[in-house]
Structures are given as C-alpha cells and as structure tokens.
C-alpha cells in the first residue's frame, strides 16, 4: 500500500508538471462552455441565413439543444483525453524510468493500480467539470428540467470513459508503443460501433451508454441502460484484472 501511495503521488506530480492536467482541464472547460454557447447562437445563425432569402420559421431553443451539443462534443474531448494518456505506460517502459523503482522493491501491481487510479481521477474531474459547466449555463439560460435523465447520461459517458481507460491499461500491458495502444483502443471502438449495428447485442455494448439523445428525449429510460452498465462494469474489471499479470510478465 505504501508503494501505491508513493507512486500515486509521483503520478499526480507528473500530471501537473508536464502540464497535461492544465491542458485537459482547459479542453473540458471550453467544451463545457461551448455546448450552451452553440445552442444559444443557433437562432442568430439561422437569422443570418434568413437574410439570404431563405425563410426559417420560429425556432425554440431549449436546454435540450444544449445537452445535445454536450453529447456530441464530449466525445471529441474524450479523444483528446485518450491521446494524452495513451503513452502513460509505454513511455516509461521505453525510457526505462521504471527499472530503478522496481529494483528498489516497488511491485508492478502497484504501478498498474496507481496509474489507473490517476487516469480515473483525471477523467472524473474533467468530465464532471464539463458536465457542471454545461449544467450551470443550461439552467441559467433555459430550464434543465425539460430534459430527462441528464445525470444518468453524464454517468453513462463517465462509465464509457472508464471503459476506454481500461482498454488503455489492457493494451499497455503488452503493446510496445503509444501508437499501438491508440490503435488498439480505436480498434475496439470501431469494432463496437460495427457490432452495434446488430440491434440485439447493441444494448449490451458499452457504446450503448453514449446514446444520450434517446435518454434526453425520453425514448429510453435509465433502466434500459442497465444491461450495458452491468456489461461495461464486468468488462472493465476483467480487462483490469487481466492486465495485472500481463504487466507482471512483461519484459522490461
């Protein structure tokens, strides 16, 4: 446990000193701010089309538009997050910076656990900050209560991010470089999107959690997401448990 604490604080310091945390927080801050801003500006944009002779009827902007933007933009922010953290393991392996610590008695399990914990912490902080900003402005300009399941949709995105993080941890346990980790994680995402075309298994896939729009509209309720939530939780745990022995056996 001591090894975990020491390595965990080292990771946090690294995150701050390499400016990664600053960049991530800025990106998620901007995204959180852009969601209501785009929704707010939509009537203005359509008005300017109006000047060119096209007539656009009266449009009513509600908090739903802001949250639709949230569901669209958060995936972009998540890609930035994944790119930033794709090298968290492989960079240390390729630079051999872990070897002195491992010789001194730090167990590899602690390394995997503390790096995962740091990623989870960063992801939770970033996502919920972005969520909070969008929530605040949507409530300020419109009314949040017209949109169903806001918090559950946020939770879905959080869980999907956790799934992506466990993919990074899993691929890092045997892949040689950050690019391979990225390719693996991206490959999983694409495979899931393709599998998702088959409606019967779609509801068990983690990607189902990204479908916030049906939740906002009230087409689906949070209980419809239960299979996906459980399946994602199990897959995350499995990937994580597999990667500990894999990292242990890895040649440094």
């Amino acid at each position: 446990m001591k090894g975990f604490n020491v390595f965990f604080s080292k990771e946090i310091r690294e995150l701050i000193r390499t400016k990664k945390l600053m960049i991530l927080l800025t990106v998620f801050f901007i995204v959180g701010l852009m969601n209501p801003a785009v929704a707010k500006l939509t009537p203005k944009l359509l008005e300017s089309i109006d000047m060119y002779g096209m007539t656009v009827g009266e449009i009513n902007i509600t908090a739903l538009d802001s949250w639709t933007q949230f569901a669209k933009n958060i995936s972009t922010a998540m890609i930035v997050f994944i790119i930033m953290f794709s090298g968290i393991f492989t960079l240390e392996y390729s630079r051999n910076t872990l070897i002195p610590l491992l010789i001194k008695g730090l167990s590899r399990r602690c390394v995997v656990m503390s790096k995962t914990a740091v990623m989870l912490l960063a992801w939770s902080a970033c996502l919920w900050m972005c969520f909070g900003i969008t929530y605040f402005y949507s409530g300020y300009y419109w009314d949040n209560s017209v949109v169903d399941g806001i918090f559950f949709a946020g939770f879905g995105w959080w869980l999907f991010g956790v799934f992506m993080i466990s993919c990074i941890v899993f691929f890092s346990s045997f892949a040689g470089s950050a690019v391979l980790v990225l390719l693996g994680t991206g490959g999983i995402y694409i495979t899931m999107s393709l599998l998702g075309l088959y409606k019967k298994i779609e509801e068990y896939l983690p990607i189902h959690l990204c479908d916030s729009l049906s939740l906002y509209n009230g087409e689906l309720t949070s209980s419809d997401y239960l299979p996906a939530v459980i399946a994602t939780g199990i897959i995350c745990l499995l990937l994580f448990l597999i990667s500990i022995p894999l990292t242990g056996r890895r040649q440094l």
Partner: protein
C-alpha cells in the same frame, strides 16, 4: 443590440479569460525554452498565434514541448 450583447456576456467572459490565459502562458513557455521536441521557436510561435483558439496551444503542448 446592447441588451443582446449583455445576454452573452456570462458565456463570453470566461471563454476570453480561458483563451487568453492559455495563449499567454503558451507564448511564455515557448520563449522560456530553447529546445523543442519538434520544430523551432519561430514555427511554434506562428502555429500558436495562427491557431490561437485553443488549437495552437494544445498542439504545442502535445507535440512541441520537450519532456523534462
């Protein structure tokens, strides 16, 4: 127009603060360091100023900043 503008202020002010503090910090960081992972000082200054809406600074920190 005036009332309209005031309506957008709560959105615009934090956006400006975030944008310009990031831009200022990035330029400061570029000028303070002599070596970069890729590219030269002039290239990075141009990239950061051209893509000043967050994209330039983020590109610099991801691809240009030397690992210490």
């Amino acid at each position: 127009m005036n009332a309209d503008f005031q309506e957008y202020l709560p959105l615009i002010i934090p956006l400006f603060i975030a944008q310009f503090s990031l831009l200022g910090y990035t330029i400061y960081h570029i000028l303070k360091h002599d070596n970069y992972k890729r590219g030269t000082r002039a290239i990075w200054l141009v990239i950061v100023l051209v893509g000043m809406n967050f994209i330039g600074p983020i590109l610099y920190f991801v691809f240009g900043k030397e690992d210490e």
